[in-house]
Symmetry: C2
Subunit: 125 residues, 2 copies
DNA sequence: TTAAGTGCAAAGAGTTTGCAAATAA
DNA sequence: TTATTTGCAAACTCTTTGCACTTAA
């Protein structure tokens, strides 16, 4: 575990849902010469080690979180707001899908897309 | 509706799940000078008109389908295989989420991630 | 004293933008 | 004509790769 790697892990734990770019900025406050390439490589490594996980929240860069931090993300495709719900709400669905085809859902890996309450309201007028 | 736009719509209807790049290649068989920029602009337009929709199936480019063609995509993050299940399997979940927070799920917009039966099997040994 | 890790530059995929030329209303 | 649409080049975001240099076992 090099200093750079420790800093990346600290950043992910501190920031929650940080993109590689955001992680880099945080790390560079302490160690300004750390390169974005190292961030990418280290995030991959930490993921293989099971210390962090990544989630695709929408069209942009993925976000990295500590491994413990697992829940479902609801991403509004009008305003971009992100809400979270406990991952247990997907247990029934995961069971249904497993029974149908043997597919094992990784429920936290992608954010679910839709319209948040505010935007739904606004569109109704 | 210009010839280019008609060709893009034909391509989406013919290909199903085509990326902008694939759509472009198909269109260029008939009209070789059509530019990828026009494909992107036309796909956006056709989506606003409600004739096509797009789905994020994974890390790469989104795929476009005719509007009628709606189902849930299950994307294996080991081998990349894509299965489909009827979108009704998400009705209960959509209801739960709506009741909890007023969020309206757009169930087909993102592919769900996980491990397909074959890869799950293989990993068990 | 060799293997592993790092920084830098460059390249790659996917996408958007500015602008002038072409086309349609 | 006047507005719209197109093609092209360039830029932009996000990510990966090659390679020389540095650090750690």
């Amino acid at each position: 575990m090099t200093p750079q790697r420790q800093l990346v892990l600290d950043a992910v734990r501190h920031l929650q849902h940080a993109t590689p770019e955001q992680t880099c900025q945080w790390v560079q406050r302490t160690a300004p010469t750390v390169n974005i390439t190292t961030i990418y490589r280290t995030l991959d490594l930490l993921e293989e080690l099971g210390l962090v996980r990544h989630t695709h929240l929408g069209h942009g860069a993925p976000t990295y979180s500590p491994d413990e931090h697992e829940h479902i993300h609801l991403v509004c495709h009008h305003c971009g707001a992100v809400e979270t719900v406990p991952h247990e709400v997907l247990d029934d669905l995961a069971g249904t899908i497993r029974d149908r085809s043997g597919f094992e859902l990784d429920s936290g890996h992608v954010g679910l897309s839709g319209a948040c309450a505010d935007c739904t309201e606004r569109r109704r007028g």
